[in-house]
Symmetry: C2
Subunit: 280 residues, 2 copies
Amino acid sequence: MNERKKKVMEAAHSLFIEKGYAATSIQDILEKSAISKGTFYNYFPSKNELLISIFEKIHSETDQLRQEVIAGRPVQDKEVFIEQVKVKMEVNKRNNLFALFQGVFASEDEELKKFVKQHHLNELRWMQRRLIEVYGMRIRAFSLDLAVVMFGIIQNMLHFVIAIEENVKVEDVISYAMRRVDAAVDEITVSKDVLLDTRLLEKWQPNELQEQERKKSKLLQEIGAMQTKADKRTDQLLVFLQDEVREEAPRRLIMETVAKEIPQNKELVRLMNDFFDTDA
Amino acid sequence: MNERKKKVMEAAHSLFIEKGYAATSIQDILEKSAISKGTFYNYFPSKNELLISIFEKIHSETDQLRQEVIAGRPVQDKEVFIEQVKVKMEVNKRNNLFALFQGVFASEDEELKKFVKQHHLNELRWMQRRLIEVYGMRIRAFSLDLAVVMFGIIQNMLHFVIAIEENVKVEDVISYAMRRVDAAVDEITVSKDVLLDTRLLEKWQPNELQEQERKKSKLLQEIGAMQTKADKRTDQLLVFLQDEVREEAPRRLIMETVAKEIPQNKELVRLMNDFFDTDA
DNA sequence: TTTATAATATACCGGTTGTCCAAAAAAATC
DNA sequence: GATTTTTTTGGACAACCGGTATATTATAAA
């Protein structure tokens, strides 16, 4: 990614942490990163999209860390699980993500809200899966309940600790929650107490598809924008791309070949690569 | 309270529920309640203060309901406790308070944030106290932990249920949480597992003092505002009131007598009554 | 060197909350 | 009923906000 763009994101990020999302004006970001307004809107279509970019970066970095934590260690190891949770929570704390998420919900921006919500559900799904790995299939029927319980305890505990400005270690909180879940597992396997259907989350698009949808819509948006100022020939090419990207299995080679013939195609090509690369 | 003012609050309230806090402009409120901008700012110094007023009203009404639920029934009755929790949660849900609170945090208004935070702590304190009443003194050492756990489970569960748009009854969620806490109580009294010091909350100003501080500051603000357009004689009276209200134990009768001699004292008198009335 | 692309500065738009004020209306007081 | 006080009105205004549009300049690719 563009060095300059990265710099803007970092400046914005630190401002968001420092002053909060809503309280940070675009003017502030411009001044801190020493760019002009025009440049800013070249990089990001809106303040919200900038925030999403920052979120995405944090998440992917966090997931990376989580991977590293578990690498070469047994999935049922409770310590590994705790460490993985800790990674996330500490990132959240360090980046004031709690506050930022809340800011999002007030923004009334549907896309942004959806993004945060989806992230929350992903996180829950992750925890549900990991809990099954840790405690075994016997807790499968209660896995979603347990995930929500564990999440709730940790989140509320941290929230409380932050509110009263007391110093309690994140790992102590997580361990505490883990011990409560330990006990709950024993108890629930006896009482067979179930609240939520384990498959509730399955109905919700998993992350990758959601991501892919985002990318597709971005690409289509760009094509649409280009059409407004395209000549006849270019327009035909663009229409083809539009149709192709909407196909079940868009053919990358063809699309790239066609795109080559379109003038001012840089952003288009960038978004197309983004669309076809399953990994970010 | 002024009928008209009440009407404005109701209009704003319904708009906030409908469209959210940030998305509701003052203009919207003016139109819905059919008043002018000038009048609005006569009633409320800002949009934030209006929101606080609404919160206060909801809270006091909810507390009232809670009182009624327990009236004449034993404090250790679990069903009573569950019903009381349910009252609050249903009010929250009905009034979209989750979303409104989040809107608050985005507003970056310090007073508003403090208010919501204080409310959260009050709620925790209430639950801590009630848990002791329900389970007895033996859980005293773990009461704060348990309160946070219970709160966290309920809140997260409800949040999740709303997110996935599934219909799960509020009371089912609360009962579920209650059963988890039941088990946790048994387990913890054996393991003696403690995370948070029970007295952590004591340090935080209880609601009444906080309230009183708010009223005092409002009163002082009004006095300050009046001073700017007061003649010499009036100014002397105002200065006296200012000093008196800052005393340990302000003398109501004296202040009221002095206030009578001040022209255009309506709002002043109103705020003074508010200040001296311990009950709203 | 030419040409395409990126970055700049700035004016502008419609929106926001909140201030201010003169004038009209309503209420309270004499 | 007349006078005074209080409340309400409605709109101009200021200072912001996010975002658009554009003409100009700088930079890099051909």
